[in-house]
């Protein structure tokens, strides 16, 4: 049973502030990614070498670990929202579309969890 009145349903006024959520988070993550991606590119290119000791020492610094975790989380979120729109636009048929969206969600959950886990493991000294 819906608690909405017939007038509200006709006016389509039942979803105040929810419809813009996707749009808003896409922008919020975009703004956050501007400094995060610039920081990531500059620090990566400034590394003296990419051998294990150097990279692990870099990730081991508190600020690096913190910013890397933020980068992984914000970028996967932004990517998930972006790919969702692409799937909704181009994958025909509700069955295939829902299946693809579920796969996109699972893949991004895996990426976010793995990325955070990896950074924490190195930062907390678990990758000698």
């Amino acid at each position: 049973m819906s608690l909405r009145t017939p007038m509200r349903r006709i006016l389509g006024a039942g979803s105040a502030k929810q419809g813009v959520h996707h749009w808003w988070v896409q922008r919020l993550t975009a703004v956050a990614l501007v400094p995060l991606s610039v920081w990531f590119a500059v620090s990566l290119l400034a590394l003296p070498s990419f051998d294990h000791a150097t990279v692990a020492a870099w990730i081991g610094q508190s600020w690096t670990a913190l910013l890397l975790i933020l980068l992984v989380l914000v970028a996967t979120w932004h990517s998930r929202l972006g790919l969702q729109v692409v799937v909704e636009d181009y994958v025909p048929g509700p069955g295939a579309r829902t299946t693809t969206l579920v796969l996109v969600d699972f893949a991004h959950a895996l990426l976010a969890a793995a990325g955070v886990f990896a950074v924490l493991k190195v930062a907390l000294g678990g990758a000698p």
Binding site: A30, V34, V42, L45, L47, A118, A127
Partner: protein, 130 residues
């Protein structure tokens, strides 16, 4: 394809560069999503220790991968600059036709400059640690 009549879509429009700059933003975004897989793969390899990282580098240090990294630099620079253009639009500014045509060129020029800068940085980094 459904047999019912469909409303005219992309194919009926003459290609304009403002369409191209918008489409490229989506395409580079999709490309960068695959870069996320590569980033997490690398982080997991580092987390696995020196041996695991060396194993992953058999893939990551392939000569062909330099082309892939160059592609990511191009995609990231373009998506960053074009994305900022979208953020400006979101404030309601620059939406007139002449303004958006001008900003389309600005996006191309600024992202090209950025690509050259980052590419130079990557080249210096490679010279240091091949």
């Amino acid at each position: 394809m459904p047999t019912r009549p469909l409303s005219p879509h992309l194919s009926v429009y003459k290609l304009k560069y403002t369409m191209l700059t918008s489409g490229l933003n989506r395409i580079t975004g999709m490309g960068l999503s695959t870069g996320l897989v590569l980033l997490v793969y690398w982080l997991m390899a580092v987390a696995g220790g020196a041996h695991a990282q060396a194993r992953a580098e058999r893939l990551l240090a392939l000569p062909m991968m330099k082309l892939v990294y160059a592609g990511y630099i191009v995609a990231a620079c373009y998506h960053l600059v074009a994305g900022i253009r979208h953020l400006v639009w979101d404030t309601g500014r620059g939406l007139e036709r002449a303004q958006s045509q001008r900003s389309a060129w600005l996006v191309v020029v600024v992202s090209l400059v950025l690509m050259l800068l980052v590419g130079y940085g990557a080249w210096l980094s490679m010279a240091r640690a091949p």
